[in-house]
């Protein structure tokens, strides 16, 4: 197992380097960064000053290496907007909000998706099953940003139950988390349903029934435990979807997270911030996938090659 972790960590590092190269290269290659940052009204002096300030007059290779060197020390530069805060600080201040939202969305998807999938499988062939499948299909076809707006319209504007945007208590979490969770709920419902159908037909479930166990135990202990395994494989992918979906969802709901930060930074051409946020999000993305792999091995005794 440690072999897997090491290898993935290595891959993560390589991916980060590549990503940083891409961001770095794109930025430099497509025009003078200083000019882009300052906009159209900058004077030549300002541009040269900024260039020297940011070290942009040095050779590209040197620039890149300096960047990497600094990054490894935790210094990702300073934002060019506002009061030039260190980028790391900005990111760290906005990270919790995103993690909370993603966590809430994941919890919601699991809490809703798994029971739905189980019921659909147990009541296979009935209207319950059919409705669950229709719901799952819709959930994976509806564009996230649109449903967010629709939800805002219905629940904030019309019903006035929930706030339209902002960060705060439970009522602020409701709509953004639901929007973010939609795709994942649908996916989880489908996966659980398929897994349960297979499990319910299996020999070990039949043996469990043969033992005379109650139907509840058969379904929720024996069948479900085996059908959540494939879910774990996808867990990383789900979280990753949420991280990327964060960009859109946070923007719509005015959520102070790193998704919206990334969007704003990119629009503002705030290079240091932009680079850093993209790198952090990539790192998160890949770490989550790694976590899912580890979890999978922990949960399924068949995958444990070492030890007993």
């Amino acid at each position: 197992m440690s072999a897997i972790v090491l290898r993935r960590a290595g891959e993560l590092f390589v991916a980060l380097l590549v990503m940083s190269l891409i961001v770095f290269g794109l930025g430099r290659a497509l025009g003078d960064p200083a000019a882009l940052m300052l906009g159209n009204f900058a004077t030549e002096e300002d541009r040269q000053a900024l260039t020297r300030d940011l070290g942009l007059d040095r050779p590209l290779g040197v620039q890149y290496l300096t960047f990497v060197g600094n990054a490894l020390r935790g210094d990702l530069g300073r934002s060019i907007s506002g009061d030039r805060q260190p980028v790391m600080e900005i990111i760290l201040s906005r990270l919790p909000a995103s993690l909370q939202l993603a966590g809430a969305a994941l919890a919601l998807s699991l809490a809703a998706g798994i029971p739905l999938g189980v019921v659909a499988a147990v009541k296979r062939g009935t209207w319950v099953d059919t409705s669950a499948r229709i719901f799952a299909l819709l959930g994976q076809s509806i564009p996230v940003f649109w449903i967010g707006i629709v939800l805002i319209y219905v629940f904030s504007v019309r019903m006035r139950w929930l706030p339209t945007s902002g960060y705060g208590g439970l009522e602020h979490f409701a709509l953004p988390a639901t929007t973010m969770a939609l795709f994942t709920v649908a996916a989880i419902t489908r996966l659980t349903r398929v897994g349960m159908i297979e499990a319910l037909d299996s020999d070990y479930v039949r043996l469990a029934r043969m033992k005379g166990l109650s139907e509840v135990k058969v379904i929720w202990k024996h069948a479900l435990s085996n059908s959540v395994l494939p879910l774990i494989t996808y867990l990383g992918a789900f979280l990753a979807t949420m991280i990327t979906g964060a960009v859109v969802v946070e923007t719509i709901f005015g959520w102070p997270g790193i998704g919206r930060l990334a969007y704003e930074a990119i629009l503002d051409r705030d290079y240091p911030l932009m680079q850093a946020v993209v790198l952090v999000m990539t790192a998160l993305f890949m770490s989550l996938n790694l976590l899912a792999d580890v979890l999978h091995v922990v949960v399924d005794p068949r995958l444990r090659n070492e030890g007993r």
């Binding site: 469990a208 043969m210 109650s214 435990s225 085996n226």
Partner: protein
């Protein structure tokens, strides 16, 4: 553990009458088991022999109410077990019967054990399910059970997972689980098919000992005649969902009456003879959907007569305690002849 049930005179423990199982098909019901009668006395071992797909597993599953619900099977007939009629029991009552009075050993032990739980805990679960835990000792009882099925080193094995055990060991665990409720009737659905030959012999030994020590009745489903000879008292031969012959083991092997039975016996290569070819039964069994008139075996029967193809034969007495479904059964071979 229960004491062996005292034989209540000549009352059968299991009395199945006219059991039929059919599945919905595109053009009506497809019969998989037709009009089966099975009678098992306390302490008796009855074998059901037939090719794959002849319906023997469906028969067993139907008795325990374990046919998959979504398949929409239709089960008709009656099955009396110790007074109660199994097929009309409500789910809760059926659940109490399962494991406690009637247990089943399935064919594939790897699939039958939940891969995520240690083997010992699965046995414990069976013990707890029937309220047979003496105080807080289910762990100990589980280990005892594992020992009684001759699993070596039960302590270590109990903590292992199914994929860590060999096929033979797994089948013993399944046996322990089946015995946990102290059942009166054990239905064994091809339990040795997935095992190596040497392991098979040991397992059959085990079953025989369990049967003798507890007075267990066994319904043994198999396609292997050799196993039948070793373990069973009486045999039922099934073909295409129907019973075609039933006799005591000695009668059947010495003097088979149905042509199918004889073909089965012939296809087992004799130990001491040298044969150039393996005898097989030409053709294949009819598919359940096909609607043949006449005897189901007629197309493959060396004795095909016109009547066989037109009219389906009925079960008729063929000796003291045997029956046979054939218009032209083989003559009785006398033991000394």
């Amino acid at each position: 553990m229960t004491a062996p049930p005292h034989a209540k005179g000549h009352e059968p423990l299991l009395d199945v009458r006219g059991l039929s199982v059919a599945f919905p098909g595109r053009q009506g019901w497809i019969p998989v088991v037709e009009d089966m009668d099975v009678r098992i006395m306390p302490g008796e071992v009855v074998g059901i022999v037939g090719e794959s797909g002849c319906g023997k597993s469906s028969l067993a599953l139907a008795l325990l109410g374990l046919l998959p619900r979504w398949a929409g099977a239709r089960v008709t007939g009656q099955a009396f077990f110790d007074g109660a009629e199994l097929l009309s029991l409500d789910p809760k009552a059926m659940r109490r019967v399962r494991g406690d009075r009637i247990a089943m050993i399935p064919q594939d032990p790897m699939g039958a054990l939940n891969p995520l739980f240690a083997v010992g805990s699965q046995v414990e679960e069976a013990i707890l399910a029937h309220g047979r835990a003496n105080g807080a000792q289910p762990r100990k009882q589980a280990l005892e059970l594992l020992g009684s099925v001759r699993l070596d080193d039960p302590e270590t094995r109990a903590r292992q997972y199914p994929h860590e055990l060999s096929g033979g060991m797994r089948q013993r665990v399944v046996g322990a689980i089946a015995m946990a409720g102290g059942p009166d009737l054990l239905i064994a659905d091809e339990p040795t098919t997935a095992l190596d030959v040497t392991v098979q012999a040991q397992y059959l030994d085990l079953l025989r000992d369990l049967q003798r020590s507890r007075g267990l009745s066994i319904l043994f489903i198999t396609h292997d005649l050799g196993v039948v000879a070793t373990l069973c008292d009486r045999v039922i031969v099934m073909y295409a969902g129907r019973k075609v012959e039933e006799a005591s083991v000695s009668d059947l092997f010495a003097s088979p009456r149905h042509w199918y039975t004889r073909a089965l016996l012939d296809s087992v290569p004799p130990l001491l003879e040298d044969r150039d070819e393996l005898a097989t039964i030409p053709g294949t069994p009819p598919r359940p959907e096909s609607t043949l008139a006449g005897c189901r075996f007629a197309p493959r029967c060396p004795n095909g007569a016109a009547k066989c193809r037109e009219e389906e034969p009925v079960l008729a007495a063929a000796g003291e305690s045997s029956v046979c479904r054939c218009w032209f059964p083989l003559p009785e071979r006398h033991r000394d002849g």
